[in-house]
């Protein structure tokens, strides 16, 4: 899908219950992410954020509903759908015994990135993340932040239309974090989209075009900051206030 098309990610009535559990981890979730949009996905611990992301990238199968990535159904046509995704999980365990470059070459081969394109992309991204001098070291020797940066580099190598990130800011130093935020913005400016989960509400508030809040598996709010403010009691509330108000645990008498 090219920039300007309807939406890059569409979830329709998606539900997931883990085997042996009576509670739905994700319950009838529907949302859309349009091209050029940074979508922040928020929720308390155990709300269903990671389960949703895992279903979007094909690591889990939904029980009901449809997930359409760049007009491909992730269940029916997973390979095509995954080609449109760049994904970084919350704790990116990479292959410790490969070098950074070997890892990036593997990703580039799998996504079919040509030698010329990958050379340019890898050089640009490595120098942006200040990782160029370590790229021939084995990943085992990397710090958590360096692994995070390498995973981000790998996920961006094929210039994916949809960038999916689970807690991307964890482990990044302030400079990399800033660079990464700029990169997300630039990515969306090209007509692509970013869908990311985070607990850092200030980042979401500043960066996201739209925000979805999930609690107990259900999407309880979704929209721009202005739209969310309309849902709360006060009109000048911060995202943190809105989040806490909407996700307040039920009081037991």
């Amino acid at each position: 899908m090219k920039a300007g098309d309807a939406c890059l990610l569409k979830l329709e009535g998606v539900s997931k219950t883990y085997r042996g559990s009576s509670n739905k981890a994700v319950d009838n979730l529907s949302l859309e992410v349009a091209p050029g949009e940074i979508f922040g996905f928020l929720g308390p611990n155990g709300a269903g954020k990671t389960t949703t992301i895992k279903m979007i990238v094909g690591l889990l199968m939904p029980d009901n509903g449809r997930i359409i990535v760049d007009s491909h159904d992730i269940v029916k046509d997973p390979v095509s759908a995954k080609r449109s995704i760049g994904f970084v999980p919350d704790d990116p365990n990479l292959y410790n015994r490969l070098t950074g470059l070997e890892y990036l070459n593997l990703v580039a081969d799998v996504y079919g990135v040509s030698a010329a394109d990958r050379a340019k992309r890898i050089r640009d991204l490595l120098s942006m993340f200040d990782l160029a001098s370590e790229v021939n070291d084995i990943i085992q020797s990397y710090s958590h932040g360096m692994k995070q940066k390498l995973a981000l580099t790998g996920a961006l190598l094929h210039n994916p239309p949809l960038f999916i990130l689970d807690e991307p800011m964890v482990g990044l130093d302030p400079r990399s974090s800033r660079l990464f935020k700029d990169l997300m913005r630039n990515h969306c400016d090209q007509g692509y989209a970013v869908f990311f989960s985070t607990h850092i509400l200030e980042v979401a508030e500043r960066l996201c075009d739209r925000v979805g809040i999930i609690d107990k598996g259900r999407l309880i709010a979704c929209g721009s900051m202005d739209e969310l403010r309309k849902l709360s009691s006060e009109t000048d509330e911060s995202l943190e206030d809105i989040f806490l108000e909407l996700t307040l645990p039920e009081q037991v008498d």
Partner: protein, 566 residues
């Protein structure tokens, strides 16, 4: 302190046998309960069949040994073989459990002494060894007990005591060697490579010692005198064998003469030496264990200077996804010491033992038999099939194709699963990598076989072709099996490869298939078929198995792939 150690041991055993994990998923969540039941029933049935086979073998052995009044040799042979195998295989196991466990970063910061951590890990290894001994030693004890004139209570008590303490000496020796090796490796920069080399050297050393023990038996020309000595004194061969490794004779006397003063003295000696070996290991471990582990935690800094710091000189290779997956798989495998020590051990052990047995051993009968066999005209046909069988056997015993997804573990499998590759492509990449490693690993054994058998080039080529096809067929089925039920939860890499049920299924299947193929070929030869017919029939069977594997992969690969949920 005592309570702390017991608690630690219990946690280790819990993790090793996945007790809480199984209880949670199978009993509380009722998740794939049928699978748990099926696994337990299959394991018990396989173990029962194997144990019955060992029992019948021991019974037959007893009958032959009794003709020479060497009945107790039944016990000594079993005990010696078990201890030798535990020692050889123990090296890789000990290195994996002591030095490459995922729980070490959690255990080391705890206020525990190194010997306590080691003792708990030792308990894990012992518990695993008991499972093997249940199948291979208990039937021998039962067979001997039923035939020999022994007191049932004293015999049973002694046999249980020996069973429980039998792995202590070999595992303690393997542990002492491993602790020393890892301390030395800790001083160096290329730790992984030296761990692999050191591990193989230790195995070679143990086989060398075994060879030395063999040569201490009567040499050519001394057989008559030796036989007279055997016939004149009951169980004298036990004493001769036992002189090379006294604990085996003490264990034998402790059981065969249970209830007598000699039996009790032998039992005391065996227990004493076991305790001494265990104590020595703990003392040594307490001194050096943490040093070895901590040096392993230090991130390797070896870099390829050519490219360091110069991104403009970074080279980029472009490969097809299939080849790229296979290359990455081979790199990951060959750079992981525990995988190499477990997967490649057969590549070296089989040829070394073959050489020792045929060329260096002092048994002229075996050498003569082999020489006369290779000179039979039909041997070219048989040799061709032997070459094929060798590839197949290596594939089955390596465990490599039966654990490729399990080896990824829960930590890494997300990567492949989130990439735009089909289940079929993922499996083909893994199978290709397995096949390449096995073909390369077969070269030393093949060289030894060719050196001794001197097959014509055409026969060798046919044999290698059959072998590669047979091996690839097993690789495809192995990868499919591991895709269907990957073992992703593990705390040490050993569990992913050799302590993986998929690998056990692979080895058992390999043995059964090889036996059936051997039976079929033998049947063909008995009916007067030529060697060529046997080769064509074998090739057809292999083609059918390979073709059906590829078809199953085509039909179900993607479904199996997407069923691996994280």
């Amino acid at each position: 302190m005592k309570h702390r150690l017991i608690s630690l041991i219990w946690v280790q055993l819990n993790m090793n046998f996945a007790i809480s994990h199984s209880r949670y998923y199978y009993l509380e969540k009722r998740q794939r309960l049928w699978e748990g039941v099926l696994i337990v029933v299959s394991v018990i049935m396989t173990a029962a069949v194997l144990a019955f086979g060992v029992y019948k073998l021991a019974d037959a052995f007893y009958s032959q040994a009794s003709l020479l009044h060497q009945e107790a040799l039944t016990l000594t042979t079993g005990i010696l073989a078990a201890q030798f195998l535990m020692l050889i295989l123990g090296i890789a196991l000990v290195i994996a459990v002591f030095y490459f466990s995922d729980d070490l970063p959690c255990l080391i910061p705890l206020p525990l002494r190194p010997w306590e951590v080691l003792a708990s890990k030792f308990a894990v290894i012992l518990s695993n060894e008991y499972l093997g001994l249940l199948v291979f030693i208990v039937p021998i004890f039962v067979a001997y007990g039923r035939r020999a004139n022994v007191g049932i209570i004293s015999y049973t008590l002694s046999a249980i005591t020996i069973f429980l303490t039998l792995p202590v000496i070999p595992i303690a020796i393997a542990s002492i060697l491993a602790v020393i090796l890892m301390r030395i490796v800790g001083f160096t920069k290329r730790k992984d490579m030296l761990t692999i080399i050191g591990g193989f050297l230790l195995v070679a050393l143990i086989i060398g010692v075994q060879f030395y023990v063999q040569t201490r038996l009567p040499a050519r020309g001394e057989e008559q005198e030796f036989m007279m000595q055997l016939l004149s004194q009951a169980n004298s061969l036990v004493a001769i064998l036992g002189r090379q490794f006294p604990p085996s004779i003490w264990a034998t006397w402790a059981i065969s003469e249970a209830g007598t003063s000699r039996g009790l003295l032998s039992l005391g000696l065996f227990l004493g030496v076991s305790a001494l070996a265990f104590g020595l290991f703990l003392a040594l471990g307490n001194r050096f264990f943490y040093q070895g582990v901590l040096s392993g935690f230090e991130a390797p800094t070896a870099r390829r200077r050519t490219f360091r710091g110069k991104p403009e000189r970074i080279r980029f290779s472009e490969r097809t996804p299939l080849l790229s997956l296979a290359v990455a798989e081979m790199k990951l495998f060959s750079r992981t010491p525990v995988f190499v020590l477990n997967g490649f051990i057969g590549f070296l052990m089989f040829p070394i033992m073959f050489v020792v047995l045929l060329l260096l051993g002092n048994d002229p009968e075996i050498s003569g038999l082999w020489s006369s066999l290779v000179n039979v005209p039909e041997f070219h046909s048989i040799g061709t099939l032997l070459v094929g069988a060798y590839f197949f056997l290596l594939t089955a015993f390596s465990g490599i194709p039966f654990s490729p997804f399990s080896r990824e573990g829960k930590a890494n499998i997300w990567f492949l699963r989130s990439q735009p590759i089909s289940g079929q492509a993922a499996a083909m990449g893994k199978a290709l990598a397995s096949e390449i490693m096995i073909v390369v690993g077969a070269i030393p054994g093949l060289a030894v076989l060719q050196y001794t058998a001197r097959l014509p080039v055409v026969s060798l080529i046919i044999g290698v072709s059959l072998g590669i096809a047979a091996s690839y067929a097993l690789c495809i089925w192995g990868v499919l099996l591991d895709m269907a039920r990957p073992m992703l939860d593990w705390t040490d890499q050993q569990k992913a490869i050799k302590s993986n049920l998929n690998t056990v299924i692979g080895i058992t299947t390999g043995i059964v298939v090889l036996f059936l193929m051997g039976y079929l070929v033998n049947l063909l030869f008995k009916r007067g078929c030529s060697g060529l017919v046997a080769q064509v029939v074998s090739g057809t069977v292999i083609a059918v198995v390979l073709g059906s594997g590829l078809r199953v992969l085509q039909l179900f690969g993607d479904r199996l792939w997407s069923s691996i949920e994280l």
